[in-house]
Amino acid sequence: MDQLFIIKFLIPLLWAVGFIFAPKNNQRAIKIYALLGSLVIFAYSIKLFIDMPDSTVMNELYKFSMPYFFGITYTFAMDGLSGLLLLLNAFLLIVVVIATWDIKTEKLKLYYFLIYALVWAVNGSLLVTSLYAFYIFWEAMLIPLFILVGVFGGENRRYASIKFFLMTASGSILILVSMCYMSSLAFSLNGSYDLNLEVIKSLNLSFNGFVSPQSLIFWAFSIAFFLKVPVFPFHSWLPEAHVEAPTAGSILLAGILLKLGIYGLLRFVIPFYPEAVAANRDIILYLGAIGVIYGALTAWAQSDIKKLVAFSSISHMGYIVAGVFSANEFAVKGAVFQMIAHGISTPGLFIGVHYLYGRTHTKKLDLYGGIAKVMPKFAILFFIITAGSMAVPMTCGFVGEFMITAGLFETNKMVAILAATGIILSPIYLLKMYHMTALGEISNVENNSLKDISLRETIPLVILAILTIIFGLYPKLIFSLYGGV
């Protein structure tokens, strides 16, 4: 066991605290400090991953026991799943810092502080396996994003941030209640309130019909995570939060935070409540499939590019939820892959939106048009990323969608067919987006003088585009890291 683990684990937070002492006027120095930090965090995430002996089981990293505190222990552990998301998290931090380098704000220190605090909270929820600690980090993730949207967001930021906070926090209350119940149960069984994964497993909640402990706890957890994912019909906070959030918020929200909901389902729900999962499987599969269609259709009807991308997330996450609940190893693997793929393509789209908005100061699709002519580099990269999002084979989007569809087909053919309509619907809205931005004639005269993206702006898009293709051609890269659940 690594005694220095806690120090390493605290790096993002310590780095965040560093921003408080940074010189206020030297914005460039702050940005460089932020970039350095992101690289350090990425390096240490890789180190954690490499040091992991076996990615198919939980590898304990550190144990933090508090005997005087009701015998609760905080265990830090990781497996392939949390490792992958850890890497994605750190990677997206780099992308965020580079892509939003041009941010102009008085409160730059606060901005970076919040981002780093958010990243740290995400790392925390990925690495702990004790339910209490998970709950603390889970709640801790809300606060930085809430402030990020509330302070740096668009016009309607107050409404959006409060809605986001209240809806996800109301889910947390369900977790809290269930946790209380489970801890008292654990105490009566083990004489300790500890709620580690093994303890949760040993609780063996009884299941008989809908009103039984297992069923209720299952739904409490599930709804809490569904609110985060978000699964149709719990999604109404997402489009507004995305539209109002600054780009950094959108990237992290779509790129990693939504996946934490799926992570929660995989880590704390599906393994422990088998009867309840089986009994409610069809409902959830249909919710996922409906989400695919609903998200796609609503995305299609949007006239605001950022909202379109936001609704596309609902569609993609519908696939993933259906995948993880399919009880099919292939589909679960596909869902994990899709989490990474979505964590690459959607941030890419948001970066594209950021560049467009930075130049045109509008998000209305009909005010773009013909941009490929003045911004050819951007148009090509944006297209590759769009192709990834529409799951063209040889891009990362395809692998996950294909595997999920195949696995679902074995579990429930109707759901598979419904979800597969996403194949038809995704180009409908994504090509609408691409055509209205990049193709056609320049309808808006002001767009004639737009500058193509600079080298700094190109870097994140190029990295994302390359990853899109590499993961699409050689998905084994992800699977070998992942191992299994």
């Binding site: 009807a301 063209v392 087909f409 194949i423 998905p475 084994k476």
Partner: protein, 644 residues
């Protein structure tokens, strides 16, 4: 060694793509850029020839590159094969592809974004090679969507014009509907046979087929949907005519010769399974026959030279699908093969005409080009005779075999045969009409060209001549028994039948009736050409045309409006779907889903207000409430957590 060749085949076009579109964007002149793609394809062509000879002697060559993912005992891997079926298609793709790449150097000489054009061209060749060389569904599907993507990119090549972008998008989405079918179909097959490899599907386990009849029939119909998407069959054919907005050489290669035949290729790949399901075969046959007829009916009144050829392609693809539905997969492949030459030829001739006439595409605005463009005229004539099925030209052999297969099919054969025959006559008619209007008829005064038409340069006419020669001789690799004697008849078909299923359940036609049938068919075709001649060339032709138009006004309208299929889809599918999407956003999302959230918020506020307004006036009452509340809460907690 052969394995390495196989790996290299798709690699050269990929390299050309990377060079032209990533590495040295637009730094070379047009000829150099074109030559990179040309050589990328041509080297592959040579490798394909070497491999083909090897395959012909010793059998398929395999090369497995890397694993993708595994599931149970299904292996998803990147795996290429050069077998009998791939040989045919890859020869066409690289051979005709290099000819067309060469032609494009001339055709695209004034184009600015030339690097992009030849880059996408090479990307298409790469994807198409993935499609035909893929040993399993996965690699084939990668190529399948890859060609869809490059087709999208090339249709929208002149993206500044909105309608090009729209056509590209339409093509992509229609193809995606097909892909939806293909994905579900291949998953169904994979689950039944526990494999996605075509090698295993060549000799499927008959017990599995019988046990999983329903699933397989469903999956096969999904695969047919996939084939219909790529090969532009009913109900998805609408994208192909619009795809003609792309550069004409591209139309020749992708939307006529190679890409659109992928559907037939797919059916051939799974032919050994679907041959067991007469229901599926019937559906396939009818889809093909009806598409052939419908497209031919539309083609006779179109005025755009490329649109006519596009509908003629849809119609010919219908023939090929019909052949598959008759169980005669090798015959279908044979028609794919001959069609590739004469249709590429016709399209390149059209390109040459369009180039010569300074981007005029309306056949009524052309005319009398025979003298000005002699090479184009004579090669076009060869293409015309081939597609019409005049004996001696390649189209005759394949088309005749399809018709006789239909005739001898005991199941609905006579109907399918009649449809096929009528389509053949219509084909001869509209192709002759086109030839006459473009090359022979003197343009009337007001339709005179702004610029003088001219013959195309050598770089364009050489490919025309090569393709014309191939359009004549390509048929001789698959002679009917009647002509060849029994020894070397149907060489092509027998080669293909090493992989695809052999036709079953056909009555054998005796020689006499076969001769009679051929003679009668040929006479009818000539008659149909004569009819076109009398309508369009005789002195009073304009008058006669108007009279006919008046007389058959209603029919003419339907045909000229393409049976309003586009409008129908717009009305029945797209508009309602978009309406639904808007309802979802404006009503469901705004009032139900958000409404519920607001309701929760509102009720919280209002209950607070209510309590606030009705707060007890005396302190004691308030304390009483608190005590009652607390008692409830504590009892609840104890009940739930402690005394379970």
């Amino acid at each position: 060694m052969y394995e390495n060749y196989l790996t290299l085949i798709p690699l050269f076009p990929l390299l050309a793509f990377l060079i032209n579109s990533v590495l040295i964007k637009n730094k070379l002149n047009n000829v150099q850029t074109g030559l990179i793609t040309f050589f990328g394809l041509f080297i592959s062509f040579i490798l394909v020839i070497i491999l083909s000879l090897h395959v012909g002697e010793t059998g398929p060559v395999h090369v497995k590159l890397w694993d993708w993912v595994g599931y149970k005992n299904i292996i998803f891997d990147i795996h290429f094969v050069m077998d009998e079926l791939s040989v045919i298609l890859s020869l066409m793709v690289t051979g005709i592809g290099s000819a067309i790449a060469f032609f494009s150097i001339g055709y695209m000489d004034h184009e600015e974004k030339i690097g992009k054009f030849f880059g996408f061209f090479a990307l298409f060749a790469f994807s198409m090679l993935l499609l035909v060389l893929g040993e399993n569904f996965l690699v084939m599907f990668m190529g399948w969507e890859g060609v869809g993507l490059s087709s999208y990119l090339l249709i929208g090549f002149w993206y500044e014009h909105k309608k090009n972008g729209d056509a590209a998008r339409k093509a992509f989405i229609a193809n995606r509907v097909g892909d939806f079918g293909l994905i579900l179909g291949m998953i169904g097959y994979a689950l039944v046979f526990n494999t996605i490899s075509f090698r295993d599907l060549q000799h499927p386990d008959i017990n599995l087929i019988l046990q999983n009849k329903e699933l397989l029939i469903g999956s096969s119909l999904f695969l047919l949907l996939g084939a219909a998407g790529k090969s532009a069959q009913i109900p998805l054919f609408i994208w192909l005519p619009d795809a003609m907005l792309g550069p004409t050489p591209v139309s020749a290669l992708m939307h006529a010769a190679t890409m659109v035949t992928a559907g037939i290729f797919l059916l051939c790949r799974v032919s050994n399974v679907i041959i067991h399901f007469p229901v599926v075969l019937d559906v396939i046959a009818w889809v093909g026959a009806l598409t052939a007829l419908l497209a031919a009916l539309i083609a006779i009144t179109q005025t755009d030279i490329k649109k006519i050829l596009a509908y003629s392609t849809v119609s010919q693809l219908g023939y090929m699908i019909l052949a598959c539905g008759l169980g005669a997969f090798s015959t279908g492949m044979f028609h794919v093969f001959t069609h590739a030459f004469f249709k590429a030829l016709l399209f390149l001739c059209a390109a040459s005409v369009i180039y010569g006439c300074h981007h005029e595409q309306n056949i009524f605005h052309m005319g009398d080009l025979k003298k000005k463009m002699p090479i184009t005229f004579w090669t076009f004539l060869v293409g015309l005779l081939a597609i019409s099925g005049i004996p001696g030209f390649s189209g005759f052999f394949s088309k005749d075999e399809i018709l006789s297969m239909a005739y001898t099919n005991p199941n609905n054969g006579i109907y399918l045969y009649s449809i096929g025959l009528v389509t053949a006559l219509l084909t001869a008619f509209y192709m002759t009409r086109m030839l006459l209007l473009v090359f022979i008829v003197k343009p009337s005064h007001h339709e005179k060209h702004a610029h003088e038409p001219h013959e195309s340069p050598m770089v364009m006419t050489i490919p025309l001549i090569i393709l014309a020669i191939l359009s004549i001789i390509a048929g001789y690799v698959g002679l009917p028994h009647l002509l060849a004697g029994h020894g070397n008849a149907r060489l092509f078909q027998e080669f293909a039948e090493r992989f695809v299923a052999k036709p079953i359940g056909h009555n054998i036609l005796n020689e006499e009736s076969e001769i009679i049938m051929t003679v009668v068919t040929t006479l009818l075709i000539l008659l149909s050409m004569g009819l076109a001649y009398s309508i369009y060339i005789k002195n009073d032709s304009t008058k006669m045309r108007d009279r006919l138009k008046l007389k058959f006004h209603y029919l003419w309208e339907i045909s000229n409006n393409k049976f309003k299929v586009d409008e129908l889809y717009e009305l029945v599918i797209i508009k309602p779907l978009y309406k639904t999407a808007n309802i979802l956003v404006d009503f469901v999302e705004a009032h139900i889903i958000n409404g519920f959230v607001r309701l929760v918020a509102k009720s919280t506020v209002q209950s607070g207000d209510f309590l606030n307004q009705n707060k007890p006036e005396k302190l004691e009452v308030g304390i009483l409430y608190i005590v009652i509340g607390l008692t409830f809460l504590i009892t609840a907690i104890f009940n739930v957590f402690i005394f379970r």
